[in-house]
Symmetry: C2
Subunit: 468 residues, 2 copies
């Protein structure tokens, strides 16, 4: 690992007034309640692009946080990821307002059929000229499943089995249905598409039957750039197999280092280059003109932390109703079925430390499960360099307390410092796809990626009969 | 019916290189192959807005035309609504490039769960500031159903039963889950949303179970402006009940007049004002600086009609494989199960006329099932006035041969003439929702609309427990 590796940034966002810092929407300088307006996203996206961010990354849950007090009331009151609009609708808007910024979108695959989803993503990849990324999530809120007519969501491992097949279907649609030269646009001969070069995928599996062709012609990346953040053993295998970038959320370097080693080992076990998997670690960076200014902002933010809001979030993540515990109770390790090891990562951050419920709430109440890194551009740069060098991550998924203010702090005070140190990505040329920018190769999936390895058997998927 | 009624225009489009004039993409001046670029849609939308159009109307099918020769080959070769991208992705893009234009989108409701669809549409209504419309379609291509894992689509009447329940679910989410004053954004007291004013819908029906709250806060229109174009008796009842605007496609005034009378009678039978249902009739308008110029364009377009492409379209609409018939065979009335009375409307246009297969193909090969109206602005205006006055429609759903050229012809030559005659809608103020512009009332559904009449029973849907 070279000391000169550039430090990469994603902006971690959500189409909601509250994301990772529940309570902070009440701050007088918060812009988060503008989330339903196009202007908010355009302003933010153009700021991120000017600051050379890899991507804006839009989280989503398609459900409500109703574990705490067995009620959605606290989540509504404190805007804990509620209300929550569709993130996919932001992609064309952000794409049109920028030329280089990547746009990563979370979409839970148990809740939309792969045939329609494949067309949605191809369309977004066309409109963004190859800048769309997909964060593959298998879903973790029972409330979402219930509203889709299920008693509860599938079991954890079955969700991953379904996810493997789902990906097989969309890979077939994206990668194999249309050959590169299928689209001719030959006006003289009246051939828009050569039917001999478009193939029905004839998929028949355990969960899905999709006989037909993909509806969209190939987009710049074909398969969107793939993010996945599985944290359980099964989830890590899934991420190692499919992801081109992954996320980790933990407050300390030791836990992050362990994650990085594990995921890269899993990648190596797949027989593929472990360095071709980018790892972003969640952090709240408060960068100011001076240390004092940044520390003053932190102190001010802390006054807006809301413990009830944070517990609504933590209860949703873990499935544990913390209303049944006293704020001064100590949290023991809880092995969550959903693989969301929020408490595990808190408690493993410092094996000697035992967190009370209140401490955990106050911790995740500002910036979620990652560290808070505060100071002048130089002071923050020092800390981020240490994180990179000590953990092996490639960059940071930047949460916010105040969305525009904190991103502006990074762009104005931190990015110039990293550039001076030669530890920030070079200015990118316009026109590159997200995959080309992030991996230095593309625009298609690497040849050894499972998405390139799927096949549509010639025996069952003959070329279409010619219409001539 | 006053003689001075304004004439309304929608632009009938699709996120595809070929829509209603199969073969015309081969014309040297066609722009339709730019459909996958944002610039195409922005240029088109700004032209339509400058021309005072009510809306751009995006058709969709989520399937392929594979009835003709039992193959998707002809549809691919001739770009017959294939390839076909997601229309919803165009809404944020068009909304951001315009300030008044409505954006109507077709979404087939058998293919997406109402819980996720409701959030998608609320998000688009937020981002467009209340300018989104939804064309409710129950689906008519078996190929779409097969790719979603079904043997074939539901039977015609069962699709409408499911549609009624689907609408009940989305109405509950859009209209009843969040009270008007639920969102407080009260920073001082830390209350973003008052949980007492947000209600789970507790829907338990034959097809759907949706217990929870809507994820999105109320958008400007809440329920998007509703289009529906059912043509069968069951479809007409459905449209009369739910639609705020409807479409008809037929080449002659007699058939359109019959449709208008029937749909307005059905509306009256619902106990509601039949004039509060706008009817748009499909037409291809070729307007030029002079009659000669327009006629020359028509003659030129006709050379690009492709009979095989038209038969692929007609076979898909009707379920009849016209490859089994000779081009000189006469088409008899075919009562299509799907309620898509393409042939019926052709044959009833002139009860004395019998169409051959070739004549029908050449007819729908340019502009689809509506009439072609050609000439100078004045000549076209005369004909459209006669259509309005003799059929009772409110306006036209304008198909194209060449998308930008034909819309430019309307905007430059026809609209000024209609304005001179006082038969065009006044310049609208910015900031009105689509419903307010089209119905002169709103932004919410009319109080007697079924979407306002749904209830979430207090007995089963209590206010959420307070978290305080």
């Amino acid at each position: 690992m070279s000391m000169a590796r550039p430090i990469r940034f994603n902006a971690f966002q959500m189409n909601s007034p509250g994301h990772q810092s529940p309570g902070l929407w009440t701050h007088p300088r918060s812009d988060s309640e503008r989330y339903a307006t196009p202007e908010y996203w355009i302003e933010l996206a153009q700021l991120l692009e000017a600051g050379g961010f890899d991507a804006i990354f839009l989280a989503d849950v398609l459900g409500v946080y109703d574990v705490y007090r067995k009620s959605v009331g606290p989540a509504l009151r404190h805007a804990v990821q509620a209300p929550l609009n569709d993130p996919l609708a932001l992609v064309p808007l952000i794409a049109q307002a920028t030329t280089r910024l990547g746009i990563g979108v979370t979409a839970a695959l148990t809740y939309e059929h792969p045939y329609t989803f494949a067309r949605r993503m191809s369309t977004l990849d066309h409109l963004s000229r190859g800048r769309v990324g997909w964060n593959i999530v298998t879903g973790y809120l029972d409330s979402a499943a219930r509203n889709l007519g299920l008693e509860r969501q599938l079991g954890h491992d079955e969700r991953y089995d379904l996810a493997d097949e789902y990906l097989e279907v969309v890979y077939k649609l994206w990668e194999k249905s249309w050959e590169d030269d299928a689209v001719r646009r030959d006006r003289a001969n009246g051939v828009y598409t050569d039917p001999e070069r478009v193939h029905p995928i004839e998929h028949v599996g355990r969960y899905y039957t999709v006989p037909g062709i993909h509806l969209s012609e190939p987009s710049p990346q074909r398969t969107p750039f793939l993010y996945q953040a599985g944290a359980s053993p099964r989830g890590m295998r899934f991420a190692a197999r499919h992801a081109e970038a992954t996320f980790v959320s933990a407050p300390g370097k030791a836990a992050v280092r362990r994650y990085v080693d594990t995921i890269r080992a899993a990648r190596r076990a797949e027989g593929r280059d472990p360095e071709q998997l980018l790892v972003y670690s969640q952090a709240l960076v408060i960068a100011g003109a001076t240390d004092a200014e940044a520390q003053a902002r932190l102190a001010e933010y802390k006054r807006h932390i809301d413990v009830e809001a944070a517990l609504a979030l933590l209860s949703g993540w873990t499935g544990v109703d913390f209303a049944r515990h006293h704020l001064d109770d100590t949290i023991e390790y809880i092995d969550t079925d959903a693989g969301r090891s929020a408490l595990a990562s808190l408690s493993t951050a410092d094996p000697e430390r035992r967190w009370t419920v209140r401490e955990a709430a106050e911790f995740i109440g500002l910036g979620g499960r990652g560290p808070i890194i505060v100071g002048s551009g130089a002071a923050v740069a020092d800390q981020l360099e240490a994180w990179l060098d000590e953990t092996g991550v490639d960059g940071f998924n930047l949460a916010y307390a105040l969305p525009l203010e904190d991103m502006r702090g990074v762009v104005e005070h931190l990015v110039p410092e990293l550039r001076r140190r030669g530890r920030y990505a070079a200015e990118d040329l316009d026109g590159a796809t997200l995959r080309e920018r992030l991996l230095g190769a593309g625009p298609r999936l690497a040849p050894d990626h499972p998405g390139r390895q799927v096949s549509i058997e010639p025996a069952t998927a003959p070329a279409l009969p010619s219409a001539a």
